[in-house]
């Protein structure tokens, strides 16, 4: 019991240190938003830069000359009350934005990641088990190289052009049918699934190659182990060997990668969400970077920090469960 608490405590410290570092980094990013806004005002209204800067500074009620440590104390004080602060540009609580946008991202990314990981590792496992069939191995390797080398934006664009524009099988953009009422009703849920097909597909196609290859490599290590030969000699069925012995052991080194991919989806979802106008956190992540909305960016980073620490924690647990001999 005591050990468990210790672990939570050390995780909390990790999160805290990460927050301090990211807070400092975000605030020292070049190109502060007041400058950005001042340039905009200056270009629109033909004012001198000084006047525009003063106007912008007043608009946002943010003074960059306040020392960072004072800003940080204020921020942590807010955090203690579950308050992530107010977006400096949008003027709404950061928690509101995250509460609305995060579920979409989690839905899209976990479905995509699940499908991509599952299909990729099944193919990888199968190919590695049947590695004597040379043509299969080569074909899969080539397909994986193809999937990895074509950038995701081209894959998404091709899917849009072919499946949404030419055949008109799937919707071009958005997360649900605008005629339906968001909520727990069947037309809405079906619409959500229908709209998710293309984004999920482009995510899966562009990442499946990596999972296939990693699984293949991992499984080939396991395959050379003696106990596999023993199992084969015992006359166990292939399916049982695959799932019981190889699969379980081969998946171990992939678990951290899976956890990190899951945790990183806040930033990696930016592109797919953008191209399909998906209302997830990617839009706000891009917005907060482009406009230097410090508090919003800070809030999104906080979520991603917590997700990384938790995911890695879970990955360790899964590892323990898969391989009871180790003690973490």
């Amino acid at each position: 019991m005591k050990k468990k608490y210790k672990k939570y405590f050390s995780s909390a410290i990790t999160i805290f240190v990460a927050i301090i570092i990211s807070f400092y980094l975000v605030r020292s990013m070049p190109g502060d938003f007041i400058h950005l806004r001042a340039t905009e005002i200056q270009l629109q209204q033909s004012l001198t830069y000084e006047t525009a800067y003063n106007i912008a500074k007043r608009q946002y009620n943010y003074d960059p000359s306040v020392p960072i440590y004072k800003q940080f104390i204020g921020y942590v004080g807010g955090l203690a009350h579950g308050n992530l602060g107010q977006s400096v540009i949008l003027r709404i609580p950061v928690t509101d934005i995250i509460r609305k946008a995060l579920p979409w991202t989690i839905f899209l990314c976990s479905v995509s990641l699940f499908i991509s990981f599952l299909l990729g590792s099944i193919i990888g496992l199968f190919v590695s088990f049947r590695s004597r069939i040379r043509w299969l191995d080569s074909t899969v390797s080539f397909a994986a190289a193809l999937s990895q080398s074509i950038p995701d934006f081209i894959i998404a664009l091709l899917l849009i052009v072919i499946l949404a524009i030419n055949i008109q099988l799937f919707p071009l953009r958005g997360a649900y049918d605008v005629d339906t009422v968001p909520g727990f009703n069947i037309p809405f849920i079906l619409g959500v699934l229908y709209h998710a097909v293309l984004p999920v597909m482009s995510y899966v196609i562009s990442t499946i190659g990596a999972w296939t290859l990693t699984m293949k490599a991992s499984a080939s290590t396991v395959l050379s182990e003696d106990y596999i030969n023993v199992a084969k000699a015992k006359g166990l069925r292939d399916k049982r060997i695959l799932s019981k012995y190889i699969g379980k052991n081969a998946v171990i080194p992939l678990v951290p990668g899976l956890a990190i991919s899951f945790a990183m989806m806040l930033s990696s979802s930016l592109f797919i969400e953008n191209i399909f106008s998906y209302p997830g956190i990617g839009y706000f992540f891009g917005f907060s970077i482009g406009n230097r909305d410090f508090t919003l960016l800070q809030g999104i980073l906080l979520i991603s920090i917590v997700m990384i620490v938790i995911s890695n924690h879970v990955a360790d647990k899964v590892h323990e469960w898969l391989d009871p001999r180790i003690d973490l």
């Binding site: 990790t14 074509i150 290590t221 960016l297």
Partner: protein
């Protein structure tokens, strides 16, 4: 003499395995392209708008781009930087990941927990602000430094993967036997642990190398390094986003050339890696 013997025997394995040999040959070709290629093919920078998107011909092996410049010479001249970036990133990142992953996994306990906390913190560092801060302070002149910069962002996930492999191998019987036989840690790492992880490490090496080619575009757009229109990743980016090559049939060679060269590069690496695995893992040689 012994060394030469072992080298030739290893070379034989490489040539014996057809796939590995095939990959090896292609990599040699890429190496030649990156080293002596730029001296053989001259890069023509002059814009000739009327001569844009010429088809594949003897004069222009891969046609011309949106400004009438020869695509093949761009690929050749870009290959030097692309190869350097890809390999230096992959090399440094893998190196870091191996050292940290193995050390942390072997030591275990508090040290492991502490190192993993640091890795977690590094994983949480927001890439964009760091790059942006970087852009304000430095400009990078050579591709290897560029590779090191990219490597800083790509080693952490791999080190976690390696660590968890070390953790599961560590408890296997043969390692315990080694411990009982009082073998040196050095021996355990290089003779027992690493060979077991070669397939996993080499495939990740390939991933990192490929990702570096694509990631270099983002760094160029931040102004940390000058924009290079011969960088393959940049060529793909320009061809899709600026030129709209997907919609213009006669612009397709310009889009497909860099993709083709990256795919083949990766395919060659994958094949070559299968030979490397056999080199290090005697047990799978027979299969």
């Amino acid at each position: 003499m012994k060394l030469i013997d072992s080298l030739t025997s290893r070379y034989k394995i490489l040539t014996h395995n057809n796939r590995a040999f095939f990959g090896f040959l292609i990599l040699i070709l890429y190496f030649l392209m990156a080293t002596i290629g730029p001296h053989l093919v001259s890069l023509d920078n002059i814009i000739d708008y009327a001569g844009r998107y010429q088809g594949i011909s003897l004069q222009h092996w891969l046609g011309t781009d949106y400004a009438g410049r020869d695509t093949f010479s761009q690929i050749v001249h870009g290959s030097t930087d692309v190869m350097l970036i890809a390999f230096s990133t992959a090399f440094f990142a893998t190196f870091m990941a191996i050292i940290i992953g193995i050390f942390s996994g072997l030591k275990g306990g508090r040290i492991d927990a502490f190192i993993m906390k640091i890795v977690d913190i590094l994983l949480t560092l927001p890439q964009f602000p760091i790059m942006a801060i970087f852009a304000g302070i430095f400009t990078i002149k050579d591709s290897i430094t560029f590779g090191i910069l990219l490597a800083c962002f790509s080693w952490a996930p791999l080190s976690r993967g390696i660590r968890s492999q070390v953790l599961s191998i560590k408890n296997k019987e043969f390692i315990e036997v080694c411990h009982i036989m009082n073998m040196s840690t050095f021996h355990i790492i290089f003779k027992e642990l690493l060979p077991n992880m070669i397939p996993f490490i080499s495939i990740n090496f390939i991933h990192i190398a490929k990702n570096a080619i694509i990631a270099s575009v983002g760094i160029m757009l931040l102004g940390i390094v000058p924009l290079s229109v011969t960088n393959w990743g940049m060529m793909i980016n320009i061809a899709t986003k600026q030129v709209g090559a997907i919609y213009v049939p006669h612009a397709l060679p310009y889009l497909l050339s860099p993709i083709f060269f990256i795919v083949v590069f990766q395919f060659a690496l994958i094949n070559f890696a299968s030979g490397v695995e056999e080199l290090f893992d005697p047990r799978s040689r027979g299969r």
